[in-house]
């Protein structure tokens, strides 16, 4: 950056690093809270909180199947603020995943994934995967019934990936079953490899934002006035940070991080569920052939997300949530139809006879994989054609509708898995689960 000696005036020590992350001046229009909701900054703060609380937890945690559970009990019961420390780490991890997902949604809606921000988007996707992986590896560490069986189920999902699935699973587990080697692997991934990778990717992620000229702004604000980063941006960031911290402290004081009985490898609880963010996948697995639920769907979605920045778009509108009134309307329609269709799908597959039994001569890859997948893809295509004709949308609004349908569907699947699946993974009302 071109340093102007005049702007050094009035610069207090201690702000150097922050002013290195941020430019000296920012566009006034980017300070509007509902442009970004401060989500990226929150994610960064949450990572810092996780590193900090995690480092403290490491002093009391022992990564062995014999002692892991007791070390957590000891931490919670006999250490000053031990329970609070674990609660903070637990709740921050959940809030982090939410914030990262919302941040991604914001970026997608405001079109901030387009060139020259495409690298930030791709690295953002990598960071999302790392956050999920970090969450997942941390899930095992308490070594209670919840973590043992959730990790068993999730890693067994990998066995359905053709060709490489089994070797990935064995590498992750360090063997055929969850045991000491698994705990060693997960502990080192969780406390070393993943945080290190995250810091590197985050640095690149931030740098690319600065290279692109800061937070995205709408076309009409391109030549808007500039203001000093300090105090205008920093004060706002400080307020958001304090509010988030207060929220986490309140959450952690009210609700303890769950800890069930010590892991028992010979008794699985009923029902045994994956961690909440994988519940959508587990729900898909009830309806689809494993190859489709574990490979086809996730890979399709991830590939589509990577491809997103390279789609040619005719409009130049960026930095706005919705491009037009009809865009808002079609977004609402997409939201409603995504919800109704997914609920209908879950309900119907419960009521209709199992296609696998109905057509028992046809391989299940076709009956519970190819056929439903083709129907779903066809329905999505038909739906998009319809709303495109009805609202005469442009391409970026269509993309927005697709994103909404997918997010709503996955949310419904996840909520169903968490709240409506009881004993034997049968559908039931939440109060009976």
């Amino acid at each position: 950056m071109n340093q102007n000696p005049d702007s050094e005036k009035g610069r207090k020590p201690g702000f150097g690093l922050i002013l290195h992350l941020h430019p000296r001046k920012v566009k006034e229009s980017t300070l509007r809270f509902n442009l970004t909701f401060g989500l990226g900054g929150m994610a960064a703060l949450l990572v810092v909180i996780q590193v900090f609380t995690g480092l403290l937890l490491k002093f009391h945690y022992e990564p062995s199947p014999e002692n892991a559970y007791n070390s957590i009990l000891n931490l919670q019961e006999s250490l000053l603020f031990g329970q609070m420390l674990r609660n903070m780490h637990h709740w921050s991890s959940i809030v982090l995943l939410w914030v990262v997902l919302l941040h991604m949604l914001r970026v997608a809606f405001t079109g901030a994934y387009r060139k020259p921000r495409h690298a930030s988007w791709i690295f953002g996707l990598a960071l999302l995967l790392l956050v999920v992986l970090s969450n997942f590896t941390g899930y095992l560490l308490p070594w209670d019934q919840l973590s043992y069986w959730a990790v068993t189920i999730s890693t067994n999902l990998l066995a359905y990936v053709p060709l490489i699935g089994n070797s990935i699973m064995e590498a992750l587990l360090g063997g055929k079953e969850v045991g000491q080697a698994t705990l060693t692997n997960f502990f080192n991934l969780h406390t070393g490899v993943i945080p290190l990778l995250m810091v590197v990717l985050m640095a690149y992620h931030f740098w690319r934002i600065r290279k692109a000229g800061g937070v995205i702004v709408a076309e009409k604000d391109k030549d808007g006035p500039m203001v000093d980063t300090r105090p205008y941006l920093l004060n706002r960031e400080f307020v958001v940070a304090m509010a988030l911290l207060a929220f986490l402290v309140i959450l952690s004081s009210l609700f303890d991080a769950p800890l069930r009985e010590r892991a028992n490898p010979s008794f699985s609880p009923n029902p045994a569920k994956a961690p909440w963010y994988f519940m959508g996948l587990q729900e898909l697995l009830i309806h689809f052939h494993p190859f489709f639920a574990i490979v086809v769907f996730p890979v399709t979605v991830l590939a589509a997300a990577c491809w997103l920045p390279y789609i040619k778009l005719e409009d130049r509108n960026q930095g706005i949530w919705f491009l037009s009134d009809k865009g808002v309307k079609s977004a609402k329609v997409a939201l409603a139809s995504g919800f109704v269709l997914t609920v209908l799908f879950i309900g119907l597959s419960e009521l209709l006879p199992d296609p696998e039994l109905l057509l028992s001569s046809v391989p299940s890859l076709v009956t519970t994989g190819l056929i439903p997948f083709a129907i779903l893809a066809g329905a999505l295509y038909f739906f998009l054609k319809q709303i495109q004709r009805k609202f005469s949308l442009n391409r970026s609004e269509i993309i927005q509708s697709v994103i909404i349908v997918m997010i709503v569907s996955y949310t419904v699947l996840t909520l169903t898995g968490i709240f409506f699946r009881g004993e034997g993974m049968n559908l039931m009302w939440p109060w009976k689960v």
Binding site: I153, A171, S268, N270, G424
Partner: protein, 171 residues
């Protein structure tokens, strides 16, 4: 690389540079791939397998006469069930459900194994009665010697269907 039809020195020079750039990129990708391979193989099981000596994986489950014909006996330490069918044959079944790895429970009244996770069910020979389990319960070869029932827990075998050859009979 795009412009190779023109043969002037400048484009040849440009072509060489781009070739070298590309070569560096490919080398970089190869290096990353090598490192990932190295890292993944570092995670793999070798750590545990080294510890076990040959023969130490054979576990004594109990005396032959303790297992009455027509019963299923759990051994939770070795994570298996011993079936002695009505003809006196032995079969050791893994208690791990082949669907997603939960542990199945023996239901004495229905004479079947139930998986608590996704309600797969298996008959007493481990054959699937209701999905989503993709195959029968895994089994171990049973060794009957010196009046004892022994199982080599390292010899867990997958199977597509039940065959009488999987059973072991006392002579």
């Amino acid at each position: 690389m795009k412009n190779t039809t023109e043969n002037s020195g400048a484009t040849r020079e440009k072509g060489r540079r781009e070739f070298l750039k590309k070569a560096w990129k490919i080398l970089g990708v190869v290096a990353v791939a090598e490192f990932v391979f190295f890292f993944v193989s570092l995670l793999k099981p070798s750590k545990e397998l080294k510890k076990s000596k040959p023969g130490s994986t054979v576990r004594i489950i109990g005396n032959i006469e303790e297992f009455l014909p027509g019963t299923v006996t759990p051994d939770r330490i070795n994570k298996l069930y011993i079936l002695r069918d009505s003809e006196g044959g032995f079969l050791a079944l893994s208690l791990i459900c082949p669907h997603l790895g939960c542990s199945v429970l023996w239901d004495e009244t229905k004479k079947q194994f139930d998986c608590p996770c996704h309600s797969s069910a298996f008959d007493s020979y481990g054959v699937v009665l209701s999905s989503p389990a993709p195959r029968p319960l895994d089994y171990f070869p049973v060794i009957l010697e010196e009046g004892k029932v022994k199982v080599d827990v390292s010899q867990k075998a997958k199977r597509r269907k039940f065959e009488t050859s999987q059973m072991t009979y006392a002579i």
